[in-house]
Each structure stands twice: as structure tokens, then as C-alpha cells.
Symmetry: C2
Subunit: 178 residues, 2 copies
DNA sequence: TATGAAATGCCATAACC
DNA sequence: GGTTATGGCATTTCATA
């Protein structure tokens, strides 16, 4: 398949997906999402009772939503102690301000680092907010040296050591640690 | 059951759980976790091939890890467009420094707010880092007024508006929006 | 086009070795 | 940990509105 056609097909698929996705969800769909969002192993029979549909309709709707990308995945949640680093840091980063090139390059570097759980490009005094999880201070030190201190386009950075999470409705999809 | 006994039983259950949890996972367990962490609807037969065990062993191990709290949940991931607010803010909060009472009260307030997706108590110049998701600037304005500006124990706060997430291995467990 | 009901086939469960 | 028999659940097909 020639590249141009490939791109066209890709775009078409995306258009179809969006079109399908924007097909509004009715109240049954929303109720089902509310349920499987908390527990996706619940049998269809039980879901059917809760939402007021037959078993087959429930299964049809769930399959449709999975195909359309409304349900984007089905996963087991693993104890964070096994996944996350023990120490969480927040890092505020300022770059030297010369256009998008350095911003994009920095973003790509962050995406490559295992320690970076999440990162945002932000407006204001700072340029980036990072959430970094590491098993030890040595690991954090290595990270800051390699990605921040020794990088000439990083003007400054400020570290906020997390004492404890007080709200946490987020879960990580990072790979398990050895 | 008298209260004291109830507490003892509760503590015992917690002890047992921790003891069970600390029972180290072998390489089979870890491989299984790696799999179900990405897809928990994959049949045991398929998992058995991947990790090199029989179907029943796979199912036994998964059930054990669910009971022991190593697997803490099984959920469907819903398209973030349906769940999260459109706008993400990072807020750095400084409180007036008079002990733990205000810190705890603030943490409890944050836990109550739907807008607050995550929050950490941090060391350094700031006291809290918040991740706030809102559907509009009006909603953010209301949030800051109610929880920050009008609160006498908040010394100062600084808002970083997220332009775009550049790394995102986190997913939200917040309820669906209407 | 989407539903509900019944037949089929797959998968988890629980008893064994 | 592996093997086998059972029960439950999802899938498919069909009839219906």
C-alpha cells in the first residue's frame, strides 16, 4: 500500500471512530459504564438486573462500546506498592524560552524516562510540571542530573518532595518493577 | 460482638492480609500481573500458554492474588473525554504554618471536591500540590473562590494551566460526568 | 435497527491425582 | 502444580416489534 493511501485510510478510520464515538450514549450505556468502570468482571446477568435490560442487550452494548473505543481497555489494578516507586516528586521546570523546538524535545525526553509518571506542558512562570516516581533518592539524583542539571536548555527546576498523597483517584499504567 | 473484640478481629484480619501480601510473588505471579494489568479479560488458557503454566494454576494464582489484595480491582477504562474535565490545572498551595490541624483539614476538604483529581502534601516552599480538572474556567473560578481565596488559612496559591499532557500513564477513577 | 429468548460453545470452578 | 467433570457465562441465532 503506497504511503499516501495508507495515511488516507488511517484518517478515515479515525473519522469513523470519532463518528461512532460521538453517537450519543443513552442512559443504559451510561449506567453500564458506571458499573464496569468499577468492576468489569461482573456477569451480564447481574448488570442486566441493575440497568433494566436483558442479558443479551447488555453484552451487545458492552461489545459495541469496546469496539467504538468508548471503553478503551479492561485491566486489573495492582497494588501500587508493587508498581510505583516509593518516593513521589513534583518537579517544576523552566526552559530557556526559544520556541517550540526545545519544548518538544524536552517532552520527548520525559516520555522516554521510566521515572516520569506524568508530565504537562503548562502556561505561567513554569514550562513543565512533572510527576516523578523513584525507588530512592539516589535514583532521583541520577534523574535530575541526566535530564535537568546537565541539560543546557533547562534554565531552572524546583523539586517538591511528596510527603503523602491526600487525594488519589489516579492509577498508573507503568510496567511492574523488578 | 463487644467492641474490643471487634477491633482485635479487625486488626488480626489486617495482619493476616499484610502477611499474605508480603508472601513474595514468584516469576509466574509477576508475569501474570504484567498480563492482566494490560488486559484482565484474556482467557486463562491464553495466559497459561504465555507464562508456561496450566490453566487451573493460572486461575488459582489470579484468585489468590485477588483475595490477598495484590490485585485490588478489575475495571473497564472509559474514554477520558467522557470522564475528565476538559481543563487540567496544577495548583501550588501555601497554608499559614501552624501545625498539622490545618493541613489535615485542608486535605479533607480537597478529598471532598470532585474537581480535585489528585493532591499531595509536599515539603518545600509549597504545602500542597493539586491536580484539578474542570469543564470550564467558570468552574475553576468557583473552585478557587470556595476552597482557596475565601479560606483564611490559605496563605497563597499559584495556578499552572496545563497546555497539554506530554506524558500520561495515569488514569482517573473519578465518576462519570452528567 | 434494537430488543428478548433459546441453543450452542467456551470458560471458570471444584473436585480429584 | 496438573487433570477432569461440572456449572455458569458469553456468543450466536432467531423471532419480534
Amino acid at each position: 500500500m503506497p504511503p499516501k493511501l495508507g495515511i488516507l485510510v488511517t484518517e478515515f478510520v479515525i473519522m469513523v471512530r470519532k463518528a461512532m464515538k460521538s453517537a450519543n450514549l443513552d442512559s443504559f450505556d451510561r449506567k453500564l459504564l458506571e458499573c464496569v468502570r468499577r468492576n468489569n468482571l461482573e456477569p451480564a446477568r447481574s448488570l442486566a438486573e441493575k440497568v433494566g435490560l436483558s442479558e443479551s442487550s447488555v453484552l451487545r452494548r458492552l461489545r459495541r462500546m469496546r469496539l467504538e473505543g468508548i471503553i478503551i481497555g479492561d485491566i486489573a489494578l495492582v497494588d501500587p506498592a508493587l508498581t510505583g516507586g516509593a518516593i513521589t516528586m513534583h518537579v517544576l521546570v523552566q526552559l530557556y524560552n526559544d520556541g517550540h523546538i526545545r519544548t518538544d524535545a524536552f517532552a520527548r525526553n520525559m516520555a522516554r524516562r521510566e521515572e516520569v509518571v506524568a508530565a504537562w506542558n503548562v502556561a505561567g512562570d513554569e514550562d513543565f510540571v512533572l510527576i516523578v516516581q523513584v525507588p530512592s533518592m539516589e535514583a532521583y539524583d541520577a534523574f535530575t542530573r541526566e535530564e535537568l542539571s546537565e541539560q543546557s536548555h533547562v534554565r531552572d527546576f524546583k523539586t517538591l518532595i511528596s510527603i503523602r498523597p491526600v487525594v488519589d483517584t489516579l492509577i498508573s499504567r507503568r510496567p511492574l518493577r523488578a
